[in-house]
Every structure is written in structure tokens, then in C-alpha cells.
Subunit: 341 residues, 2 copies
Amino acid sequence: MERKPTMNDVARVAGVGTMTVSRVLNGSANVAEETAKRVYRAIEKLGYRPNEMARALRNFKSRTIGLIVPYLFDPFFATCAHAVNTVAREHGYSVILTTSQDDPATEYNEAQSMLQRHVEGLLIIPADIRKSRVNQAEFNGTHIVTLDRPVHDARLDSVQVQNQSGAKRAVQHLIQEHGHSRISFLGFNRSLYTVRARFEGYRRAMQENGLEPMATFDCSSEKTTSDIIDGQLQGENPVTAFFTANNVTTRYALHALLEKGVRVPEEVALVGFDDFELADILHPKLTVVRQPASELGRVAANVLFERIKRDEFPEEGNRIVLPVELVVRRSCGCDSPQKRG
Amino acid sequence: MERKPTMNDVARVAGVGTMTVSRVLNGSANVAEETAKRVYRAIEKLGYRPNEMARALRNFKSRTIGLIVPYLFDPFFATCAHAVNTVAREHGYSVILTTSQDDPATEYNEAQSMLQRHVEGLLIIPADIRKSRVNQAEFNGTHIVTLDRPVHDARLDSVQVQNQSGAKRAVQHLIQEHGHSRISFLGFNRSLYTVRARFEGYRRAMQENGLEPMATFDCSSEKTTSDIIDGQLQGENPVTAFFTANNVTTRYALHALLEKGVRVPEEVALVGFDDFELADILHPKLTVVRQPASELGRVAANVLFERIKRDEFPEEGNRIVLPVELVVRRSCGCDSPQKRG
DNA sequence: CTGAGATGTGATAACGTTATCAACATAAAT
DNA sequence: ATTTATGTTGATAACGTTATCACATCTCAG
């Protein structure tokens, strides 16, 4: 309703000039103690709060960063976002958050919109390693850090996890500890960097053990996943273990197996990439590769703020890779009475 | 690096006045077609994008709303946030998102910070019905809508779900369909509105059936929940069913029961408030009260944008209550071979 | 005391946008 | 031919801050 009080109002009430109020607020030296007190009283009395819009316009500093994640209901991304938020607050920054739905066009539009809002930096989980356009010229002058997935641009900092080696270790576990040889890779959306990298880890583990890879990237829904699994469990050489590329696929696969009455891990083993809250309450408890979601967000945000602070645009960005951990529970066959030969 | 091009730059390149560029951008009438074309070409050439900071300052419209949720890694809140984001985008608004950790002081600070950023409206999931201070005078002139939980201020719009009647229905189901009489309410944090309301539904269901309520509000962690359950399962009159107040408590309780080797629902039944992705893969599949999380976010955002559009500050806010649904699966005892008398 | 430095303060001009007004065409109406 | 309308444009002044400069006072060494 009534207009918010401005610095001018404060100055008038305190009986000083506008600049003096500004100086008091910014803790600049050379303000008489007595004057400062008068200003503080006036601020108190009017309930004055500086207008960040005007500040941003004047200072070329919005104290805002942008964060673009594919989805918010995926617990992994949500956890990243939470961590980013926490770090931003510590730096006195606000976060403009939006989702891309894994669509490069949406991602580009949202990034543009954030540029218009003059964010000082951008944290992005890019939808597509090739089609993401956040590296174009128009983004020069904005600090960008990609997390979870990189893009093809050496100038950008990126923070990611050990996708390939983590996947490889998990598949090796299935091969070496449990003697599986017919292991199927289930994933969705080949254009996602993480899915590719995890597949590559899987492929290498198979190859190094002289086994034939067998991969699907079409697990877009519960139904299709179920159909794919159906096909792979039938025939003369049925699959004996599944490796799923992320928490969604893991869920689809587990659901399908349970629906069909297939016993896990007795009849078929299952190991997934990405841990989640309920993985150790499920029956069976899931063996998974755990990603440090919080740390991913935290590290990426810190890298970004470091860049912002230095206002540095390097020729070659840093690439930070965080370790993952194979959390062995039961779905791989461990802790189970019978093992296979 | 290089400064971003401004409207003045565009005007110079196009050989027109600044106002003409402004007019073209805002689609205002009365610009000659030929001139408009020149302006568009200049915009294209320079890669010009309007500075939202300057616009906001000049127009008193930031095209931004604030969203404060307790936590982002709770799938319920994350889903709300996702929905809010979607609606905001449809309106051409950006969302500044932050978390309160269910702490009223943090909530207040974050809300203040958003006011300084001149958000046009605020969507809040308040931490505490009494201690939340978002209704104070300093927030006059900002549109506020609370979602999921209300605060004590009749002027604020609030959107929530049928907490009480949903809980009551669930408990009635345990009593009437499965003959339970020793039903324990497990929750955490009595200062949360939702927990209270759900308890009240539980209490009424018990009372109307002549049963003794039995409630705990201390399920703050897995450990304490486990201990509480231990106590209630021992003694001469052990509990035969649990009603849990939200998805976190449900998880704690289920985990504890599984750890102890208690069979659900054969030995003890379990019904929770708030559905989640994996509730139907768990063993047993969980019977829950499902909340329309997406719709909650969507409706709240729409209410807010309606207020913003009309710039209306009603004496008495709307209170919208969305229906919940009892999703009957197996943990209540349904679909189980034996029923109790 | 005189001049140099420190200290405290305010006027002014930006930052990039847009509302308002005034100016000029040109077309239509008398 | 003169008025009246209509369409098209630009100069100017804000919005609320802050950097810069300028002007006072005051302190103290010489």
C-alpha cells in the first residue's frame, strides 16, 4: 500500500544528507558517532530497508545467483539445490531457482531470463552435453559452473562424481563376488552425460572380464521398463543381474521385478547408481553406488563464489570429480545364503 | 567482461531515440513499421537484453516472487516447489527460493531479505503457527499466501489439505475394517500445524469409537522412534497399530519395525500420512493418506498471482482446503489372509 | 598562526529503464 | 486555406542507490 520508506526519507527524519545515510549503512568510516546514532534511530523508526533493486542497478552487483536443475522432485537434484541454497545464504546471496525439465530449449530460456535479472553467476545441471547452449557468447561475462553433468566447453568449471569408475566398481562386484555374466544395463536417455558415463563404466567392467555388454536406454516409464525386463528374463540365456543407471530407473526396475514375483537377489540381482532415503528399507535392501549429493551442491557453489569473488574467467575451467561409494546391502546377493558359482 | 549493451546503445545503432526502442520492446502502438524493423535489427546485432533491475526499479515491479519452504530434500516440499515454479514461469515470473529449516528466525530473515529484493509476493510454508512473524506490519504491502500450514492471521490467504479429516478417516479404517483398538500416534514437533491437525483427527476417531488415544510427538530421529516403538510393543497391552503423521516419521517407524523383525501388517499394522514414490514398492506396500502436493503448490501460486494482479489486500483471506485420499494398500492389513476380530 | 593533513558532511551525477510531455509531421475535415 | 485529428518521434525527469568531488571544520607540526 503505502510506499516503502527510502533513504531520502531516512535522511530527512535524521536531519542529514542522503550520502550520510548511505555511509552509515555501508559501514564506511568517517561518520561521527553522534550522526550515526541519529541515522540508526531514523532507520528504526521508519522501518527502512535498502532497496536491493536500486543497489543492484547502481553497483552492478545483484547479490543473486541462478540455479537450474532438471527436476525438483528428484531427491538427488533437490538435495543438490538445498546445499547450494545453504552456501549462497552464507555468502549473503539469494538464489533464483528454476527447472529445465531436461529440455535444452527451456534451459536456454531460463538461463537467458536469469541473465536479464543480472545474476552474478549461474549453476547449471545441463540437460544435454551437446545441445546445451550455456557456453555461447551471450553468456560471456557471467560466471557459470556446471554440476553433475559437464558441457562441451573447456572454459567452464564443472563438478561431477565418479560416474564411470563408480559404475565399473559396482558391475565388477556383480561379476567377481557373485559370478554373474549376463548383466543387463538399464538406463534412460542416452543424451544424458551421466547415463553415458555410467554405461561406459559398465561396458569396461564387462569387457575386461570377457563378457558381452547388453544395454538399453529406453527405460522412460514403468511400463516400458517392465516390458524390457520381461524380454530379458525370457529366452535361452536369461539375464541374471541388472545394473540401473539412476534412482528412477532403479525404482522402475525394482517395481517391475516385484510385480512379476521375481525374487531379488535370489533369482535376479540388482545394483543401482544413486542412493536414496528408502533404499535400506526396501525388500531387499538395495546395493547402490552412493553419490555425495549435498557435497556436489556445496562444492559447486563454492567454486562459483570463488570465481565471482575474483571475477575471473579462465581459459580452462577446473574439473572437480567427487568420489562415490559402493554401498553393499542385499540386492546384489551379499548376505544371502546361497551364492552362485 | 565488456559491459552489456543498453537501450541507449541500441538506439544509437538504430539511429533512433531511446524511447522508441523502449516502445518497440514493450509492444506499444504507434511505432512505424520501418523504424521497428531497424530497432529489431540493432537489438539482434548487439544481442541486447533489457536490464530487469532497471525495469524493476522504474516500474515497481520485479516480476519475482519468493518461496520459503522448510526443507528441499523432503519430497513433499520439493514437489510443491516444483509446481510453484511451473506456475510462476507461466506468468513470466522468477522464483527466489530459500529454506527455513523450520526455524522461525531463519524464516523471518529470509522473508525480510526477499522484501528487500522487492518480490511482488511471498509463498511460505510457515515453520510455526504462532512464532512465524510473516504477518507483522513490515510485511504490509506484500502479498503473502501460506501453503500447507497456516498462521494466526485472518488476512492471509492459506491453502492446505484435509489434515484432520484425512487422518480421522485413516484411523477409522484401522478401527472399523481391521478391529484395532490399541492404535498409537507417532509424530514429531508439536509446534507444526499439520502434526497437530492430524493428531486431532486421530484423537476424534479414537474418541468416537470409545478408544483411548496414545500419542507421541518426539519422533525426531530414527533412534528415538525405534525406542518409542520398543516401549509400546512391550507390556501387557501392546500396541497393535501405528498411525504416523508424515513421510519422515513413517519411514522411521517402518525401518524400526523391520529392524526388530516385526511383521507388518501381520503383527502390527501401519498407516501413514503423506504418500511417497516408493510407498508401493516397500514390503509391505504402505497404506497412506495421499496429499496432492503438486496441486497444493499450483493452487497457492495461482491464488498469489491473482492477488498480485488485482493488488488486493483483503481484510479476510481465503482459506482453501484440498481433499486428500486414503490409498489402501497392504500395511493396514487389507489384502492380508487373516483379519483380526 | 599558517599551511598541511585529517575528518565529517552534502550536492551532483550517474546506473538503465519508462511515463509524461511536447513537437512535428501528415492526413482528414471544415 | 485553415483547423483538427492522428500517427510518430525525442527530451526530460524520475525510480533509489552510491562514487566522486567539493567544501567546510578541526588538529597539529613548523
